[in-house]
């Protein structure tokens, strides 16, 4: 079980006076402190961990964000920034003595510029609604995390979110042009803008993926792209995980660059079949490969992909011929997480590995699954090696969560051993925090913490995340 720091009794004792002061700073109805209402903010999508915060503030302007942060800075109150609370790693998990700063009321589109191909939004806006704002003109915002209907741009920036299509378009950091940033002491500043490659150090790259530990981003300028003319998937079934893994590598090596290469193994295929009836073939593993462009390009790419796949003796190659067929191919993949959730509680991991290690890692996970006595399903972005093993467990069975967590930790250590990393797109949060020393040396972590020292010298912003508590202790308790 992940530990969280003991809340400060000094802050807790002053709760009512602090809440009163925050209410004076913000408009009416912007401070939530009732013990029932704060329950809605007690966790994010890592629901195994919960803790209601001292209070929640929902500012409506960047100035109000600044006012709140400045107040908390002067009063030494920890702040946990929150987008939509869809983090799978506990990035928005509160502590009892913290103020949760939610950006959900900051959801406006500020500027759309098709000629220069950017959109400027407030960061409480949801990922999908950014694309919706520009779809009439045929544009879209590329990063597409599975939670895109709900997740906020603020959280996308904090976690440097990816999605199924980032093999071609990159992740958040590759599509972020500028931010308005509020530092913990209330200072408001801007980094980057509508032009490329801001001068001096790449602070934009540093902020992106800093898990809400350096500042609160209230506005973002995002690169937008014209939608490709057409997109079409092909589904390929195999009789072993290893062969499917080898096929992925061969496709990439052949010079085709699909927008997405998704992988599912038998447990996930069976679960999604039962759940959605997508009509997937009966096989050990399948790939969904999507290509896009003009009709000519698509036909060419699909024929290359299919011919490579045929060399690997597939159980089936199913090329989509229509929008209906495409939707059906994606149906199972898109309902995979829901389908697995119906069978059991599950923990979703996020390690990335070099694609060449895919067959070995899948085999080892299978063996470990037997050792631990917990079933695993694999569904992930194979093109970039970003795995999502889903470990099934029973939350009501004493000890099962702990067993699942230690199995998960072993899988992530395996990812690091083969040259990969602990997390590809979900973030460290609290979930992978205590494994950081498996990937980094103490010196590696020290230099990262020094960066936080620069932005947040008092360590008040989301302080108990990312770094093992023992490693960050002196800084948090300064």
């Amino acid at each position: 079980m992940m530990e969280m720091p003991v809340p400060s009794s000094i802050i807790l004792e002053r709760k009512s006076s602090l809440v009163l002061k925050l209410q004076k700073i913000l408009p009416k109805g912007s401070v939530i402190h009732d013990k029932y209402e704060t329950k809605a903010y007690e966790c994010d999508a890592l629901t195994a961990y919960r803790c209601p915060p001292m209070c929640v503030v929902l500012p409506e302007t960047t100035q109000q964000v600044s006012d709140v942060l400045k107040f908390c800075y002067l009063e030494n109150i920890p702040v946990v920034p929150r987008g939509s609370g869809t983090s799978l790693s506990g990035g928005a998990l509160p502590t009892a003595d913290c103020v949760v700063l939610g950006v959900s009321k900051l959801n406006k589109v500020l500027e759309i510029d098709y000629d220069n191909r950017f959109i400027k939004v407030q960061t409480g806006r949801t990922n999908l609604s950014v694309s919706v704002a520009i779809e009439e003109q045929g544009f879209f915002y590329a990063p597409d995390p599975s939670s895109q209907l709900a997740c906020a741009i603020a959280g996308n920036i904090a976690m440097n979110s990816g999605g199924a299509h980032c093999l071609k378009y990159g992740v958040t950091t590759n599509n972020l042009l500028g931010v308005k940033l509020v530092l913990m002491d209330g200072t408001i500043t801007e980094i980057g803008g509508s032009f490329l490659d801001a001068p001096s150090y790449d602070l934009l790259g540093l902020i992106c993926g800093s898990e809400g530990q350096m500042g609160v981003v209230t506005e973002a300028t995002l690169r937008i792209l014209r939608k490709p003319e057409f997109a079409r998937p092909v589904l390929i079934g195999f009789d072993s995980n290893e062969v499917a893994g080898a096929c992925v590598s061969d496709i990439i090596k052949a010079g085709v660059l699909p927008v997405a290469i998704e992988f599912m193994d038998r447990p996930v295929i069976e679960a999604t079949e039962a759940f959605s009836g997508a009509g997937y073939p009966d096989c050990e593993a399948l790939l969904i490969i999507e290509v896009e462009g003009s009709e000519v390009e698509i036909s060419e790419q699909i024929s290359i992909v299919s011919s490579i796949a045929r060399r690997h003796k597939p159980v089936e190659v199913r090329e989509s011929k229509s929008n209906e067929e495409s939707a059906k191919i994606w149906l199972g993949r898109k309902s995979a997480f829901g389908a697995m959730g119906k069978i059991n509680d599950y923990m979703c991991l996020d390690g990335t590995i070099p694609i060449s290690s895919l067959p070995f890692v899948l085999k080892r996970i299978g063996e470990m699954s037997k050792e631990y006595g917990l079933a695993v399903g694999n569904v992930f972005h194979a093109g970039d090696g970003n795995m999502h093993p889903l470990i099934l467990f029973d939350a009501n069975k004493p000890g099962d969560l702990e067993l699942c967590e230690s199995f998960g930790a072993d899988i992530l250590r395996l990812c690091v051993e083969v040259g990969g990393c602990l997390t590809g797109e979900h973030g460290v949060g609290i979930e992978k925090r205590d494994l950081m020393l498996d990937q980094f040396s103490k010196e590696d972590l020290e230099v990262q913490m020094k960066v936080k020292d620069v932005f947040d010298p008092k360590w008040l912003l989301n302080p108990a995340k990312v770094f093992p508590l023992s490693v960050s202790e002196l800084r948090r308790n300064q």
């Binding site: 950091t173 801001a198 001068p199 001096s200 602070l203 014209r226 052949a254 000519v296 590809g424 980094f440």
Partner: protein, 378 residues
């Protein structure tokens, strides 16, 4: 490479770390020194040129890892053998700056050098997935790794890219690479006005045809719009693009490989400014402001890349470019000038006080003894 001071070129990362630990003198950090910038204050030169070689290459995983001093020619040769490349198309500064030697991959990273494909494939920092470096205390540190999707801890990979050796000495870098495309096609338009050129480029870049380069050379009155892909695909997209831009005067779609190389090397490497007198500025703005910039500066010569977002300007020595730009959002870097010019015009665009302080504090954390490339970032 300057020969006026002693040069140290460690052969291993460990040797490099030991040297930094032991040294007390301010150092100038160099790869091959083909991209000198500003006037760093130093007593000795620390070169990465002996840290050479590709240490890992997995074409099937689109990843390559190389030591910082690996010459670009060597790295490119290894990639070409597998029909792959660095997608950000790094610029070669040698002609523009009249320097010689073999550019290194470490130098490309330290300066975040990109090329015309920046608008489609991102900058150097977008392809960079891992770094190893030695900080000012001599610690050997790593960040990122060799996988292309990685959010484990802070992204110091981005911070190191473009830090001009002021935060640490980069010893090894990893990249995501991409396949080389089969065919290149460049639609050439005859255009005389900057505003018309930007309008044409913006329309192309806002199309679904996957443009990988958009540049304007006012001296020849030509706009270049590049498509890459398979033969059929370039042909089809080329005719669609040609229809989209039918109101502009079109020359041809150039598909000859060598002629395309000449066109894009000339743009990317700004060879037209070679050996011409005057200061060279590199200005980044939003494309629609390009015409305001050229009016404000009335440069002797200029070239637009990145659809108009990148302006290379050759201006009279001592022209105060930044004050001419006034309120136009963006930044200007003084790339080439007479020695000592940066006393009047800082090399890099001055930042607001908050950002300046953050930058200064970062330098202090990474290099507390002020050893590395002092004076480059003010």
């Amino acid at each position: 490479m300057p020969l006026d001071k002693s040069i140290v070129a460690p052969k291993t990362e460990k040797e490099l770390s030991e040297f930094v630990k032991a040294t007390i003198a301010p150092l100038r950090i160099l790869g091959a020194g083909t991209r000198p910038i500003g006037s760093p204050i130093y007593e000795a030169v620390l070169s990465t040129s002996n840290l050479k070689g590709v240490t890992l290459y997995e074409p099937g995983a689109l990843t390559i890892v190389a030591r910082a001093g690996t010459p670009m020619s060597e790295l490119n040769a290894v990639l070409v053998a597998e029909n792959q490349r660095l997608s950000f198309e790094p610029m070669d500064h040698r002609k523009l700056l009249s320097t010689s030697g073999e550019p290194t991959i470490g130098g490309v990273v330290a300066t975040n050098t990109s090329g015309s494909r920046r608008i489609q494939a991102g900058a150097c920092r977008d392809s960079l997935i891992g770094v190893r470096f030695i900080d000012g205390a001599g610690n050997i540190l790593k960040n990122g790794g060799r996988v292309m999707k990685n959010v484990t801890g802070y992204d110091l990979v981005k911070l190191m890219a473009g830090s001009y050796g002021t935060l640490g000495v980069i010893s090894e870098v990893s990249f995501k690479v991409l396949p080389v495309t089969e065919v290149v096609g460049t639609l050439i338009l005859n255009v005389s006005q900057v505003s018309t050129a930007v309008e044409a480029m913006s329309r192309a870049l806002g199309s679904p045809y996957g443009i990988s380069g958009a540049a304007f050379n006012p001296s020849s009155g030509q706009v270049f719009i590049r498509l890459e892909g398979t033969e059929n695909s370039v042909k089809m997209r080329g005719s669609s693009l040609s229809r989209l831009l039918s109101e502009f005067e079109q020359q041809i779609i150039e598909t000859d490989y060598d002629r395309n190389s000449i066109i894009w090397n000339t743009i990317r490497n700004v060879t037209s400014f070679s050996k011409k007198s005057g200061d060279v500025w590199r200005i980044s703005v939003k494309p629609s402001d390009a015409s305001l910039v050229t009016i404000a500066l009335s440069p002797a010569e200029f070239v637009l890349d990145w659809g108009g977002g990148l302006i290379w300007a050759l201006v009279n020595q001592q022209l105060d470019v930044r004050s001419r730009l006034g309120a136009i959002a963006g930044h200007a870097t003084l790339i080439r000038s007479k020695p000592g010019a940066e006393k009047k015009f800082p090399t890099f665009h001055p930042e607001v006080a908050v950002i300046d302080l953050i930058s200064k504090n970062l330098r202090e954390k990474f290099d507390p003894r002020q050893l590395f490339n002092q004076g480059i970032f003010g």
